[in-house]
Amino acid sequence: MADYAQCYKDFRAAGAEVIAISVDPPERSAGLRRDLRLPFELLSDRTRATIIEWNVLNSKEKGGIAIPATFLIDRERTVRFAKVEDMMMRVEPRELLEFIRAMKDGDAQAPRARGVNPASMFLRAIANGFRYGVNVKR
């Protein structure tokens, strides 16, 4: 999400808001938002009702958490882009931004999720472990 923070102004300029949803309670999200200096809102889905309705529930971890996913919703509330991520694939914000810009020209091609270098993901996981503490599975 830090990379979305970096591009946030560009998304706003392109006519898109950004929001992010997790099962975290608001006080936990407040810490994350402060630490990562996120300029967009973090919304709390404690009941998991939205996460279930959007079909992005990972029920195998910690009583159910969200699977990382990216959606673009237009002003008619129509889904224009949808990608539920697996372990090694993610959507680059810059590509989504280009998609939004191209949508206005009417010739948009949906961005493809790119493979993530497992080593960098591993390093990031370790860094997050230091920053937030490691959650041991119950």
């Binding site: 999400m1 979305y4 998304f11 706003r12 006519g15 898109a16 808001e17 950004v18 929001i19 992010a20 949803i21 997790s22 099962v23 975290d24 608001p26 006080e27 936990r28 999200s29 407040a30 994350l32 938002r33 809102e41 973090l42 919304l43 709390s44 889905d45 009702a49 939205t50 279930i52 309705e53 959007w54 079909n55 992005v56 529930l57 990972n58 029920s59 910690k62 958490i65 969200a66 699977i67 990382p68 996913a69 990216t70 959606f71 673009l72 919703i73 237009d74 002003r75 008619e76 509330r77 889904v79 224009r80 882009f81 949808a82 539920v84 989504l96 949906a110 937030y132 503490g133 959650n135």
Partner: protein, 46 residues
């Protein structure tokens, strides 16, 4: 277990109203009145 259908391009997104860190609710159908909206789901730290 999870009977929800996959969200696909072209359909109407399910609406939601969820609180931010201050407790203020944000409704998707209101958000998109002003602009498009990128909706991210993230794992969080529980």
């Amino acid at each position: 277990m999870n009977s929800a259908r996959e969200i696909v391009v072209g359909e109407t997104a399910p609406d939601f109203s969820l609180p931010d860190i201050t407790g203020t609710s944000h409704r998707l159908s209101d958000l998109v009145k002003d602009s498009m909206c990128v909706v991210l789901f993230y794992r969080g730290h529980w």
